[in-house]
Amino acid sequence: MLSLTLLSIPLIASILLLFSRGNLSRNLALVFTIAQLIFTAYAYTVFKNEGSQAFEFLASWSVKPVLNIHFAMDGMSLVMIMLTNLLLPLIVLSGYNREIERPHIFYSLMLFMQFALNGVFISFDGFIYYIFWELALIPIYFIAFNWGGENRAKVTLKFFIYTLAGSLLMLFAFLFLYNGSPAHSLDWVSLTNNPACSCNQTWLFWLFFIAFAIKIPIIPFHTWQPDTYTTAPTQGTMLLSGIMLKMGTYSLLRWLIPIVPAGVAEWQYVAITLSVIGIVYASVIAIMQKDLKRLLAYSSIAHVGLISAGIFALNLTGFQGSMVQMFAHGINVVGLFYCADIIMNRTKHGEIEGLGGIRLLAPQFATWFMIIILGSVALPLTNGFVGEFMLLFSVYQYNTWLSVFAGLTIILGAVYMLRMYQKMVLGSALKESLVFPDLYWNEKIVLVTIGILIFVMGVFPAPIMELTEPVLKNLIK
């Protein structure tokens, strides 16, 4: 029943929030997200006693067509649930000293998003999974559209249609599998036990892969991403980059690899090559960016490119590395976008050039920003290091040359990140009139939490590996 609890808290909260006004909305949102976090922590503590599919919930939804509800959690789901529910309170808190119009709708959409994301990660039936996958798109569209920056109508529509197009391809794949399966069931267990004939897996792979590749995004399906990240309000970008794109990488492990194993084996080299091309391409583009948010957007493409490359290496190191890195990247990218937002909010300046000397005015901010950057460029002892090391190693096991190119992400990442930091934060202020108050209490809580997590995970990544190891070992077979 715990899985239902985890779904119902954000859903109820999102409905309740519609009736609140003003500051009450954000306080309520914070309370509910923290409650959700507590339940998640509880789930983590009792998870070990529960067997491979914990907190299972099975029900029939409709008899014809056969639709079933199947919620459960295994180690992989739990890690993603933990990431989602850990980041949500931070994202809510990050908006505390910002002016947000119509906060009740804003936070209601955000909690609805949390509901959908939780649903995606605990669904073990293809149909219900698809529903949650689509549901996650609606609130983030409206968040980006209603509270976004310039050109939002065009950008967000592109984002919506792009991702929906991918989803519909996936829908077609699910329909085909539904039709082919003997019991007309889309249950994960039956789908993995009765894979489709490999003649069909060849093209089924592409339907699934494109849907996930758009969400992740893997080159050449990434064109919606930089615009959307720049246009969306910061909290929307945090949701998108921190959690939503993990839906794609998670789904590779959860659905693509077990359901169409022959297709994956056949197209592995294309997928991994695309991912590695994405890493190099995005890193190079990131170096040339003048705008801070766009730089972060491209760096995000590079990082998730490495995650998907590791997944498509199809070995245990890669799988585990990807889980660790999904968690780490989620935390880091939220921190990075928050820092970018703090800078842009105070200086009204989003360009990398033409700023400087922030460190002199706001030493605390500069320190925590540095820590997050270090995590993101994968310095040893930070969380980015563990994951990226494992991922690179797994790609190396697949092909030496690819791993060399994939390794560029660390070097190039250090180049653009540190250069950006140097130009914006260090040195003396280029603008005489620069006023930069140091961190407010809520900003401090968010950044300190993220900073601590970066170190704790960097030194002690074992819990995530332990959680996911049995599931991923199964996947290898």
Binding site: P65, I138, F145, N146, R152, L157, I161, L168, L175
Partner: protein, 458 residues
Amino acid sequence: MNTLIYTSILGFLCMVLEIFNVRKLIVPVLVLGLAVIFGLNLADWNSNQSFFNNMVRIDNFSVAFSGLAIFVTLLVFILATDYYAADQNHISDYMAILTFILVGALMMFNYANLTMLFLGIETLSIALYVMAGSKRFDIRSNEAGFKYFLMGSFASGFLLFGIALIYGASGSFDLGKIADYTIQNQQNISPLFYTGMFLVVFAMLFKVSAAPFHFWAPDVYHGSPALVTAYMSTLVKIAAFAAFYKLMSTTFFYTFEKVAPMLNVVAIITLAVGNLMALAQTNFKRLLAYSGISHAGYLMLIILTAKNQTAGALFYYSLAYSLSTLAAFAVAIPVFSATKSEDINSFNGLAKKNPMQAAALSMAMIGLAGIPPFAGFLGKYYIFTEALQSDYFYTTLIAIVASMIGVYYYFKVILAMYGQAANEAKVEQSFNYNLVLWICIVLSILFGILPGPILNIF
């Protein structure tokens, strides 16, 4: 049978009330009467009776669709209270004719004989020609009525000629007996019969506005008064599809293979034309007309799979489509009258002026686009599973691509409401419009979440 008789009486009652000069009572009496008839209709569930030498047959199929039609009419009549508030002089005429449209639709659900089908279609159509042209001083409305009449009479001619040829071949008008004829003479079915069958199918394709028989739809939808357009795009479409489905799943069951390839092509063309043409529309009513054509394309997939008894899917999809469309009109009609324009631009900035209406219209559009959790999504899902099961692989694929395109034009309306600066016009919201609006939205979500009872109704 009660349903049909009492609804006709209700229509006459309208005119009688006019004689006694109690115009104010007309709409309340109609709404109340329809609510009672709705209940009477449900009492016929599982009764399976036939009347007048098997001219009319009441079975669960007809009861379910009659219930849906009465419900839709009820909602439209609630809208009519305010819509015709300024035109009290003619209200009895309008309401009586609208009621007779329902009578025609009921006949199209109940028929067990081709003559009865023809009578139903004519009752519905003639009343509709009049309603389409009912804004007498508006040139577009005149055009709509005239165009619809001309095109419609051609279709009726096709239908009648087809029925005559079928009668010539099989010697009967009765659905069951015609089907018997096709079984008994499997090897040597007369070419007359096939010619007749194709003519009847063409006529039905015209009525459901499937491409390439769709040319009347955009102009007629555009020109007709908004309330009539709402009625046309819901009730009339449901009636036409239900009648078509009944024909294909009973009478032409054994000769279905002959028309299947043609219907398949028609479905593909309809999906393509409806969705692609909708992209370029700037008028909201025309947009909904093309959206209606594209939904006709999805419903054509059900006609294609009629052999597998997919009436449940037809019913569910019709319900989902009607709820979303009616909700859209319940927002649009007050906006049209406030802005004196029927363009998508007239919704500009509605989110700032009337946030609730804007939210509801967004939900209606998302429902029409077929995105969960609305009933429209599950309806599409069901249709696609059925189509794949019958091996219409590429048609399903095209239908899915069509849904992608659909998202774009439905979102144009949402973009106008949320993204554009507000126009000056002040939109007044009355209780009746809001009532219909929220009934539709709530039911649309409810059936999307709990589809069981409706999906497995048959």
